[in-house]
């Protein structure tokens, strides 16, 4: 039962105020979204066997309950090709404040998108789709809809983006798989409806969208303040 699973994970994260990337990805995967295979390591000796299993190129991210925005503190490395690089990355992550573990996963490619959710005071759960990556708030190319979403909502959200032509396969690039993107958004919207009274907002950023799949490469779930209702 998804709802029970959501509740267990979210309750456990209440005091921290947000759900860590590994836990968030486990929840999303249970909700039917694609996430990369990942392993968290706490000891440099674990790196080699995990790398052999997952394969290069690889991404590594810091896991810490004190670090919400990982890339702001140098806690995200991508395109790693060797064990030696991984060991060096581990070394530098372990010096970060509150270091708990290093998350390792194979690199996924595609167009970087953001899928998000927010509990709006007046309109309830809303879902966001936009162009993702670290520049999201610079470009602000996003569409918003009240959840739950239907197929027609997803179509109009995509059409509403300035960058929509990029998704259709701009200048010979591979088009994003529309069916996969639609499925991803609708499953996400169902997840948001199920979790609505327990969350404040969610960022899936980036979601790597290609001709085959939409894979959630990073995820963060923010929880409402402990004193009952959110003030948002």
């Amino acid at each position: 039962m998804l709802k029970t699973e959501i509740k267990t994970v979210l309750e456990a994260a209440r005091t921290r105020g947000w759900v860590s990337e590994p836990d968030a990805k486990r929840l999303l995967s249970a909700a039917g979204l694609e996430v990369p295979r990942f392993v968290t390591v706490t000891d440099p000796d674990q790196i080699e066997p995990v790398a052999a299993d997952l394969g290069f190129p690889m991404a590594a991210k810091v896991v810490s309950s004190r670090i919400v925005h990982k890339s702001d503190v140098g806690g995200v490395r991508t395109g790693i090709e060797t064990i030696r690089e991984l060991t060096a990355v581990f070394e530098s992550f372990s010096r970060l404040d509150g270091f708990e573990a290093m998350l390792m996963e194979p690199m996924v490619s595609g167009l970087e998108m953001i899928i998000g959710a927010k509990m709006d005071d007046q309109f309830g759960p809303v879902v966001l789709l936009g162009m993702g990556g670290i520049g999201v708030e610079i470009y602000q190319d996003v569409s918003l809809r009240m959840a739950p979403l239907g197929n027609a909502d997803v179509d109009s959200m995509i059409k509403g983006l300035k960058a929509a032509p990029l998704l259709y396969g701009y200048r010979g690039r591979q088009a994003v798989n529309r069916d996969e993107l639609t499925r991803t958004l609708i499953r996400f919207s169902d997840f948001v409806m199920a979790a609505a009274d327990m969350i404040e907002s969610i960022d899936l950023n980036p979601v790597m969208c290609s001709g085959e799949k939409c894979i959630v490469a990073d995820a963060r779930i923010m929880l409402p303040p402990m004193d009952g209702h959110t003030a948002a």
Binding site: K118, Q122, V142, L144, D153, D203, M222
Partner: protein, 474 residues
């Protein structure tokens, strides 16, 4: 008049009966004005009593506990002592007396009330208005306000405490406007009157302690006198926005919303990109569009949208044909259309040839018949009729903008009525631009009386077409 504070501090949505009975409240035949003053001649309640007494086809009674005589008419000591129950009680007593007064109204069998009095949530006394709402809810007794101007229905009732000679009133028509602010309502009424847009109902709901936007949306959706429902909204209570947009989607009439407080946020630190980009107004605006509600971003749009949608209710795609006797006007209209997401499809040679064949001999060789059509300053009635007829028949166009410059020497004053009938016959929305000066009145009315909206500016005409396009979920 003070406005209530931000939506998130407002009261939660209470459970409510499915539909209030607003009939006696909005279509009263008998009215009591409670709280008239025998000491202050220009007391708001006196203004209300006086205007209803002198100008409206209803029986009106003045009430003040002291009794006596006002403008030569008897003042009753209580609503309980009136010769018969009234449909509408206008309550203008001090805030601390409103609860007892409301009890009296309910006991006396009134049909509803407009509570004009201030001194509630807007000054931190939410408890006082909650008591009023609780009492009214217990008895299924609808009231508007408090802290509002109340109700205006052309030719029927007016509870605004503004002397008649100071008010500009729209005539009877199809637009209902519900406003959280009394000041905005009065100001909009002036603009609607100037544009010749008629009202079915104007309501200032003030602190909306009991009757809120959603209740009025449900009532107006079923009201046969109302064709377009417009709202000025500052904010909703928790979860109320969701209910409102879902109800509006089910409503078969166009719903238009002007929202204020678009920028009153952004200071709050948020920890996710989504929360930062999905701010209160961004969500508000997206939720409206998703449910086919037309958002007017300013007062100018509100007036244009109401006028256009009271003439044409069917949503369109936004392909526009433009006709003008001036190349400059056509070019300006094209610019504004493209900025507003409307397209101007080109006409092919064959289409142009067919139009040209029907033009007058003087215009035939000089007219430019691509879209926009420039009939030149030599244009006659025949040329306007021919171009309009062709465009009205075209399945590739959703609407026609006609830029009619009455100083064109060969244009006669009954052309507008004839053009209107052409478009009505082909069921093609026609929007006209005519400079609004008194000497062109007959041309303007030739459009308006035939159901064609007229704007005094090119931009206004384009916005009217945009309204028809926006009246569609997206």
């Amino acid at each position: 008049m003070k406005e209530t504070s931000s939506p998130s501090n407002g009261p939660l949505v209470q459970s409510r009966p499915p539909l209030w009975d607003f009939k006696r409240l909005f279509q009263p035949k008998t009215v009591a004005v409670i709280g008239v003053s025998l000491k202050r001649e220009r007391h708001p309640a006196n203004v209300i009593f006086n205007k209803i007494h002198l100008r409206y086809p209803v029986d009106v009674f003045a009430v003040n506990p002291g009794g006596g005589d006002l403008f030569g008419r008897k003042v009753y000591t209580s609503i309980r002592n009136l010769p018969r129950p009234v449909d509408l009680a206008v309550i203008a007593v001090r805030a601390e007396y409103t609860l007892d007064t409301l009890k009296d109204c309910i006991d006396a069998g009134a049909g509803g009330a407009a509570i004009i009095s201030g001194g509630f949530a807007e000054v931190g006394r939410l408890d006082l208005q909650d008591q009023l709402a609780d009492l009214a809810r217990q008895h299924g007794f609808p009231f508007i306000g408090p802290n509002c101007l109340g109700i205006y229905v052309p030719g029927r009732i007016d509870t605004f405490f503004i002397p008649s000679e100071r008010m500009v009133r729209p005539e009877s028509g199809k637009v209902a406007l519900v406003s959280q602010s009394g000041g905005v309502l009065v100001d909009q009424m002036t603009k609607f009157a100037e544009q010749g847009i008629g009202f079915s109902l104007g309501v200032s709901i003030g602190n909306k302690a009991l009757v809120r936007e959603l209740d009025l949306l449900e009532y107006l959706a079923a009201d046969p006198d109302t064709g377009v429902i417009a709202f000025y909204i500052e904010g909703f209570a928790r979860g109320e926005g969701r209910e409102f947009v879902q109800a509006a989607r089910k409503c078969s009439k166009p719903v238009i919303v002007l929202k204020s407080g678009k920028t009153g946020e952004g200071m709050r630190a948020v920890s996710s990109h989504t929360a930062s980009m999905a701010g209160d107004y961004a969500v508000f605006s997206a939720a409206l569009a998703q449910h086919g509600i037309v958002e007017a971003v300013n007062e100018f749009e509100l007036v244009s949208f109401c006028e256009a949608l009271s003439c044409y209710g069917e949503p369109i795609d936004g392909r526009v044909g433009i006709i003008s006797p001036s190349g400059g006007h056509g070019a300006l209209a094209v610019d504004i259309c493209s900025r507003n997401g409307l397209s101007i499809p080109a006409f092919n040679q064959e289409q142009q040839n067919r139009i040209r064949a029907d033009l007058s001999s003087s215009v035939q060789p000089i007219a430019s018949l691509n879209n926009p059509i420039d009939l030149t300053g030599s244009a006659t009635d025949i040329d306007f009729m021919a171009a309009t007829e062709h465009l009205a028949r075209s399945p590739e166009l959703d609407a026609i903008i006609l830029l009619l410059l009455p100083y064109t020497p060969e244009v006669t004053s009954d052309l507008s009525a004839r053009l209107s009938r052409v478009c009505r016959r082909h069921n093609k929305p026609l929007i006209a631009y005519v400079p609004h000066v008194e000497r062109y009145r007959m041309l303007i009315e030739g459009f308006e009386f035939n159901g064609v909206p007229v704007s005094p500016s090119i931009k206004g005409a384009v916005l009217m077409v945009k309204a028809l396009k926006r009246n569609k979920p997206c």
